[in-house]
């Protein structure tokens, strides 16, 4: 899932303080799981902003709401009237939600209340760990299911650097050396020989280095178009 963290309330306040009618709008999927941007957190942020406005003697209405997912229009379009009744939407979604809502709402600004952090797992309650870099060219079958792109501080593909110390990374003794983990896992799996193959320079074009990425599923897009036309009576069933 996408892990996000709330921005400090002071930073949020500085974004919104010139507005009169603010809607704090939550997203109930990933960022709700990390207790940063679901309906509950949106409500708390709204309360904090109201308190802040009172303290500062500023007249401001702060409302709150939420939808299931801000990364798909069908979930937030029903709230369009609500958005239009405000002069700012403060989204507690990840950056994807902020981008899409901003594009769809158009004439009302959508600001981020969170810092979007990473694609992460929740190995135990309250702990979120980055585990995938979304590089567009997965090699986890070669590395024992441990991603060297984001779990190695140097994204090394052919083995550890000289900075491993007692299984920890040179950047911090709280960070595991991914290559230490990879070697240990591959030993357990009996597939250490896979690590002996030299991995050639990676094609980073599939990651964020090849320009903005998009993916089209032609059959799904065509089906959707057909359903639209059917609904409008342009095509017979």
């Amino acid at each position: 899932m996408i892990v996000g963290e709330q921005k400090p309330i002071e930073e949020i306040w500085n974004m919104v303080k010139d507005k009169k009618k603010v809607l704090v709008f939550g997203c109930n999927t990933c960022v709700a799981v990390c207790h940063a941007g679901g309906a509950k957190e949106a409500e708390i942020i709204a309360s904090l902003l109201r308190i802040k406005a009172t303290e500062e003697g500023i007249e401001m209405t702060v409302d709150h709401g939420a939808c299931e997912r801000q990364c798909e229009p069908e979930f937030f379009i029903p709230s369009m009237e609500k958005f239009k009744a405000h002069d700012l939407v403060l989204s507690t979604a990840c950056g994807v939600g902020v981008n899409l809502m901003s594009a769809e709402i158009g004439d009302i600004p959508v600001y981020p209340a969170l810092n979007t952090e990473f694609y992460g797992a929740v190995p135990k309650a309250g702990l979120f760990v980055e585990m995938c870099g979304g590089c567009g060219n997965c090699i986890l079958h070669l590395t024992g299911g441990i991603c060297p792109i984001v779990r190695c501080s140097k994204s090394l593909l052919n083995g550890p650097c000289g900075g491993t110390n007692n299984g920890k990374c040179e950047i911090s003794n709280e960070v595991d050396c991914a290559w230490y983990l990879i070697v240990e896992r591959m030993k357990k799996l009996g597939t250490l020989d896979k690590l002996l193959e030299i991995q050639p320079p990676k094609n980073w074009a599939t990651a964020t280095h090849g320009g903005p990425r998009r993916m089209v599923l032609e059959h799904i897009a065509a089906l959707e178009e057909k359903e639209d036309k059917t609904a409008k009576g342009e095509v017979k069933k």
Binding site: S153, K154, S155, L156, L157, N158, G159, P160, C161, G162, G163, T164, N165, N166, G167, C169, E170, I171, S172, C177, W179, Y180, V183, E184, K187, L192, L195, L196, I198, Q199, P200, P201, K202, W204
Partner: protein, 321 residues
Amino acid sequence: MKSDSNLERVILSGKPAVTAELGPPMSASPDEIVHKAHTLKGFCDAANITDCQTAVVRISSIAAAFIAQREGLEPVMQMTCRDRNRIAMQADLLGAAALGLKNCLCIAGDHQKFGAAGKLKGHPGAKNVYDVDTTQLVGILKKMRDESLQEGGDKLEVPPKFFIGATWTPMGDPMDFRPYNLKKKVDAGADFIQTQGIYDMELFKSQCEKARNLGVLEKTALLAGIIVPKSAMMLKYMDASVSGVTVPKPLIDRMAKAKEAAGDDKKKAKQLQEEEGIKITIELIHQALEIPGVKGVHIQAIDWESAIERIVKDAGLYPRP
């Protein structure tokens, strides 16, 4: 010969090779490089010119290497994977070759969070590159030199004839993978290897044995890294904190004894420890050169370049071939 390098010539001669290290300054003046080059000249076959080691900005390795070469000291230019993508790397390699540089050591580079182990500010907020890793950079250099091809496949009119180096941390974790790590770098094209500082020669010997069994040591020139110890405190610090370095207790005890012999006289304590440090270094050099497959030593006298002359002479490695 693959290159015009003096280091390669010495290695091919079969005599033990000696490399040293020259750290460029945080300054726009060439003076310190010129001074250090004259201190080292004649006492090593080539000297590594570090590339913003510990992720701190210094005169670039290429520029400092050029200055050292002008002064008559053969440099081993270093190139980290931290600061350049493959385009910048290859452009700099062509430029370095055009300037007459002959050796290139490929390294991952200390992470920018490292910032001189907290002693300096550094640039912990910098964006690193790591477009390619060390093994891949070695492969790129080999492809450029031997096939006149860039990584992307475009032809080079004149290839850069580098003697290609890489590093090895034989005693780093995970230790049983380290010989394979070396094999990958050598298979990719590393002509010579410089190791992390070795104090535990028995352990190093057993790692070398494993590498030899993989058929690696006949394909490359392994230079054992020796970091000249200056004090008991330095040895304790390296043992506890430097990745891949373990210092046997008897060596720490020897240094501690040298310090104690000076009583409260701090100047004398420094002097006695430095004396002992040089003795230890010479012993380590001799032990390393006896290990089958070891073709030379890489002596690092950090901020103590003036010690190299005496070490090389007392170790019986002078004059250089």
